[in-house]
């Protein structure tokens, strides 16, 4: 029952990450990312209860603070500091239908790749594992397809969430120190990127990745 719920939450993760990918505005991306992080917290908690790993319960608590609250708040604050700029001309390079097809293809490829893994801990959570791997590529798709540099930041956050889920699925007993290290680094990455975005806005008054193509060749 517990593992079934974990796999269902894994499926929800891919739905929410697709919503981040499809978001047209920073406001919506922030909201979708917060929801996705809440699903991640639920997954960590369920897995913790199912496997009896106390560490995962602690991860769920820290992820609530860092991913559900802190990261969205940082990005939202930066967006507000810029005066909530108009993003109507920053549509994704991919049409929504193509984005969904691409995500489906990524999930499919990851299911095939994960099928070859013989690790005992992976057996019960294979679907969720495939999805956590796919999550990674959805994040990459978000970075490559977005014209909005604020949204590119969320691509990195999705990739980091994918790693987090993989670690929880394959090594639920991992010491908290590892989780703390990963989360701290990810938070610093978001803070630094937010700061650079703010500088770009103040210096160039743009969030458009097309305006950042002067250096070529």
């Amino acid at each position: 029952m517990g593992y079934t719920l974990v796999n269902i939450l894994g499926a929800l993760l891919i739905v929410t990450s697709t919503l981040v990918l499809l978001s047209k505005t920073t406001r919506r991306a922030v909201l979708c990312y917060a929801v996705q992080s809440a699903v991640l917290v639920a997954l960590l908690f369920t897995l913790g209860v199912t496997t009896g790993a106390r560490e995962l319960i602690i991860w769920a608590v820290t992820a609530t603070v860092t991913k559900v609250i802190f990261v969205p708040l940082v990005v939202w604050n930066v967006y507000k500091k810029m005066g909530c700029p108009d993003e109507s001309n920053l549509a994704s390079r991919l049409k929504p239908a193509w984005s969904i097809i691409l995500v489906a293809a990524e999930v499919l490829v990851c299911f095939v790749a994960v099928g070859g893994i013989q690790l005992p801990t992976a057996a019960a959570v294979r679907p969720a594992l495939a999805i956590s791997l796919a999550h990674f590529f959805v994040g990459l798709t978000c970075i490559i397809s977005s014209r909005n540099i604020m949204k590119q930041m969320f691509g990195y956050c999705l990739m980091e969430n994918g790693s987090h889920v993989t670690l929880a699925l394959l090594a639920p007993q991992a010491p908290e120190l590892i989780e703390v290290g990963i989360t701290t680094d990810a938070i610093f990455a978001v803070l630094v990127m937010s700061f650079v975005v703010l500088r770009i806005w103040r210096g160039m008054h743009t969030l458009d990745a097309r305006d950042l193509t002067n250096l070529k060749g």
Binding site: Q118, P120, G155, L170, V196, V197, R199
Partner: protein
């Protein structure tokens, strides 16, 4: 004194100086920050020699903080590279920053930021090289990006902002692949080890690597290669590199290209060791040869189009990191030795060339090679240094890179990979042609009308002469401690004392005058 304590001090000193500089008000002035900067780098140089040389020569690893820090012969090579090049490019920073400050390009706030971040950058690289913990190594590599984003963008003009954004987004997302690979190795190790709490330590997992799930290990290696290969500047993840290297201040470009790329290579070598033990040589070799050859070939042709001298040098970095990947992909003791020597030799050569690009920038006020002409008339000392170091970059004898490139070719031929040797050699002919173009078009030729004549100040030339001396010295007579360290490192990477292939390789004895002593790596068994 206890080497473990010195290792902790080596890591702590640049961090402490970063904090001191951050806490010091900018009104303290540039000389105060320059003084702290040099104190930090002098201590790092001294301690890296104190810790690195014994580890290199004796093969005895230095451990500290339990299992967390581990400097064996392999990591000692990179610790020494950080200490020596960090100090020399740091010394070059003094006249360079003074010039920029006097030219109004760097205000007091940015001078403080520059020196504080420089020490932080050195700290993060030392941590990555000395860490024995998988996750800490990843975090340190990620931290190298975060500490240098603001160095790359320090001039805050349009191009710098663009370069710093690309650097941040490409490297953080690239290194996220490295995190995924790291976690897969950790999970694999935790599954087979009796004590899962030791599953995050390289030395602890190596004896168990043979029991890892082959599929998971292959995915992990592929992810690690993409992730840390992004940081190393391997094709096709190299896109950040020409932008960041061209926009950063020249001493920082020297440190990025000369050292940071090599530290990322060290992490790839650690994952290569795991893959070798778990799935054999074929899979990692195919991946390394593929990205290596593509890096060499694409960068060789990209070089032709560049007119910005620093972008040109940046593409040379991609090409040379490609050669390192090719050498690793060829594998065996000879391939690994060639890769490690190329890390050192290219590191020194490229640090020198980026410092010299700083000379040109200070003299001509531009990076555009079409406007940099007649250097021999304008700044004869810089012209001489530039010519010799460009010959070094082209791999001409008797300079250092000739030795490592020749070793790579011998390794390829010995492994019956002649087609690899031919492809790389053909690409290198394009590289040589481009280098000759710089010499004939910029070093020679006539100086622009009205160009003031005179070399940069002596303080800028001192570190350059030292780096040039190293290039000549290492090419003519590679120091015995380095040869011993490379041999000990080969034993660590291959987890074997059998280095006959290295000692019996054509030219090896003649070049290195090695007594072919059995490697003394006491920790071969535990990685």
């Amino acid at each position: 004194m206890n080497l473990s304590i010195l290792l902790v001090a080596l890591l702590a000193s640049p961090l402490v100086f970063t904090l001191i500089m951050a806490a010091t008000p900018q009104s303290a002035g540039r000389p105060a920050f320059a003084g702290m900067h040099m104190a930090s780098l002098s201590i790092v140089l001294g301690l890296s020699l104190a810790v690195g040389v014994p580890a290199l020569v004796s093969g005895q690893a230095v451990d500290a903080c339990g299992l967390w820090l581990h400097v064996d012969a392999l990591s000692a090579i990179f610790v020494l590279l950080i200490g020596i090049i960090g100090f020399l490019t740091g010394l070059f920073s003094l006249p360079y920053v003074r010039h920029d400050a006097e030219a109004g390009l760097m205000g007091a706030d940015r001078v403080k930021q520059y020196y504080a971040l420089y020490s932080l950058f050195v700290f993060t690289m030392l941590l990555a090289a000395a860490s024995n913990n998988l996750i800490l190594t990843w975090a340190a590599i990620e931290a190298t990006t975060l500490s240098t984003v603001f160095l790359v963008g320090i001039y805050r003009n349009r191009d710098c902002l663009e370069a710093s954004w690309k650097y941040a987004i490409v490297c953080t997302s690239g290194v996220a692949f490295g995190l995924f690979g790291t976690l897969l190795v950790y999970a694999n190790a935790a599954d087979v080890m009796a004590n899962p709490h030791e599953a995050a330590f390289f030395t602890a997992i190596m004896p168990y690597a043979g029991q890892f799930d082959p599929m998971l290990t292959k995915i992990a290696f592929a992810f690690a290669l993409i992730g840390f290969g992004t940081k190393a500047g391997l094709f096709p993840m190299h896109t950040w590199l020409p932008d960041a290297h061209s926009q950063a201040p020249s001493p920082v470009s020297g440190l990025l290209s000369g050292v940071l790329l090599k530290v990322a290579i060290l992490v790839i070598i650690r994952f290569y060791m795991v893959a070798l033990a778990a799935v054999g040589a074929l899979f990692p070799s195919v991946l390394l040869l593929t990205v290596g050859i593509l890096s060499v070939v694409t960068s060789a042709f990209s070089l032709v189009r560049q007119h910005d001298i620093k972008r040109k040098f940046a593409y040379h970095s991609v090409e040379n990191v490609g050669i390192i990947a090719v050498a690793l992909g060829i594998g065996g003791p000879l391939g690994i030795a060639a890769a490690l020597l190329h890390c050192v030799f290219h590191g020194i050569t490229k640090a020198l060339l980026f410092c010299l690009s700083g000379n040109l920038l200070m003299t001509y006020g531009t990076r555009d090679l079409r406007r940099i002409t007649g250097v021999i008339e304008v700044a004869p000392v810089t012209a001489t240094l530039l010519t010799v170091s460009l010959f070094g970059l082209a791999g001409f004898p008797p300079l250092a890179m000739f030795v490592s490139e020749t070793m790579t070719f011998v390794a390829g031929a010995s492994a019956h990979l002649l087609w690899v040797v031919v492809v790389v050699a053909l690409a290198l002919t394009v590289v040589i042609a481009v280098i000759m173009q710089i010499i004939s078009g910029s070093v020679l030729g006539h100086a622009p009308e009205g160009q003031a004549k005179g070399d940069v100040e002596p303080l800028a030339l001192v570190p350059e002469f030292i780096l040039l001396a190293c290039i000549v010295w290492f090419g003519v007579a590679t120091p015995t401690p380095l040869v011993a360290g490379v041999e000990n490192s080969c034993a660590i990477v291959l987890q074997s004392d059998d280095l006959d292939a290295l000692h019996t390789a054509p030219l090896y004895r003649a070049v290195f005058d090695s007594q072919a002593a059995a490697p003394q790596a006491a920790d071969v068994q535990n990685g």
